[in-house]
């Protein structure tokens, strides 16, 4: 089953910073949303977003930690 890594971002309260809290493996955007919502349920989040890891664009360097993680993002 072909799946992709999605990074999960949440904001605990209105006005808080949107923070990276984890990741799920999912085969499309819709399932990624469901998996993230049911997996990262440790708080009552004000806001939650998911981003397909391959959609993150590095800005200032091509050897950054996130770029390395992207290479492993195709499950």
């Amino acid at each position: 089953m072909k799946e992709f890594v999605y990074d999960v971002f949440t904001r605990k309260e209105r006005g808080d910073r949107l923070q990276h809290v984890g990741y799920v493996d999912a085969f499309d955007d819709e399932t990624a949303k469901v998996y993230a919502w049911t997996t990262y349920d440790e708080e009552k989040w004000f806001e939650m977003c998911v981003v397909k890891r391959t959609n993150v664009l590095p800005v200032n360097r091509t050897d950054g930690l996130f770029v390395e993680a992207q290479k492993a993002a195709h499950v």
């Binding site: 984890g22 990741y23 493996d25 997996t39 440790e42 050897d63 499950v75």
Partner: protein, 313 residues
């Protein structure tokens, strides 16, 4: 390849350097981290079918829900640990679906059947306490930053599992009669099971590098003490017999039975009267795996291939 030699990396992490990804690691570090994360992931994963099959003994719909909430957490914890393994070059697909039951690295305790509600709540009271003991140490000491961050969620949820277990242990123990007897019987086999889970005593421990690379902070014996320092007082408070006591002279908890000793998995009975056995004999028993090993692993893997075939058709 790493920018550091093994010696440089060991010195750097001892001085507080945090490793962020494969490019910061040496091969030795990666291997030690892989072993640690595999044990962690497999333990989380195998606790799920073990608790899931026991959850049918839940006494109400509300307790069903809280038992399943614990199971859901464990599966999420497993997912996180396998994800971390992917990031250092391992395959989750292989680890979860491609291995034989005996190749998983979870402790022997999660190869045992949980046969009633008392056993499930003592399991969450004892086994999850062991999980917290191990993971709190990792959380506080690990030099691997992605793991440290992931442990925030995991610790929060493990605390809830533990509380659920302890609240129910208290409730059953206070009720007396059969309820209390069942809790005591669960304590009788699960206490030594958890003690053994922490592994070889320090004076026998082969050097694993986990301390040098700062993947953990405490030794096996220290972790065993931490676990006992909560569990023995809890049992005393509930009037349950736990085979250990505080020794004033030694300033530590001491076991009241020969350690390690042999276990009969069918009768759930520790052969205290047969005396101490060698750790080789313990490893032999662990390697043979317990009665539920194949059933638990099969329950996780069973539908993967079928659904894959349907989707490919």
């Amino acid at each position: 390849m790493s920018q550091f030699t093994d010696e440089e990396l060991k010195q750097k992490v001892q001085a507080g350097y945090m490793v962020e990804g494969p490019e910061d690691m040496t091969e030795g570090y990666r291997k030690a981290l892989r072993v640690q994360l595999t044990v962690q992931a497999d333990t989380e994963l195998m606790s799920a079918p073990s608790y899931w099959m026991a959850a049918r003994h839940a006494p109400s719909t509300n307790t069903q829900v809280s038992a399943h909430a614990i199971i859901q957490d464990e599966l999420a914890h497993a997912n996180i640990a396998y994800r971390l393994l992917e990031d250092i070059g391992e395959s989750k697909e292989h680890l979860v679906y491609g291995r034989q039951p005996h190749e998983f690295k979870h402790p022997y305790g999660f190869d045992q059947p949980l046969d009633n509600w008392a056993e499930l709540v003592v399991a969450t009271g004892f086994f999850d306490r062991a999980g917290i003991t191990l993971l709190t140490d990792v959380h506080e000491n690990t030099s691997y930053a992605p793991l440290k961050r992931a442990l925030v969620k995991i610790s929060m949820e493990e605390t809830f599992h533990l509380r659920h277990g302890e609240v129910w242990m208290r409730r059953l123990a206070k009720a007396g009669g059969e309820a209390r007897e069942l809790v005591q019987r669960a304590v009788d086999w699960m206490f030594p099971m958890t003690i053994e889970w922490f592994g070889l005593p320090d004076d026998m421990k082969r050097h694993s590098g986990q301390l040098d690379y700062k993947l953990k902070g405490l030794t096996n014996d220290q972790l065993r003490q931490v676990w006992m320092s909560s569990t023995v007082p809890l049992c005393e408070e509930l009037g349950l017999n736990a085979p250990a006591h505080w020794d004033d002279e030694k300033g530590e908890y001491v076991l009241d039975y020969p350690f390690p000793c042999q276990y009969d998995a069918v009768d759930k009975h520790w052969a205290f009267d047969e005396g101490e056995i060698s750790w080789d004999a313990v490893f032999e028993r662990w390697k043979g795996r317990g009665p539920m090993n194949e059933i638990y692993v099969e329950s996780v893997q069973r539908s993967r291939m079928d659904v894959e075939r349907w989707l490919a058709a």
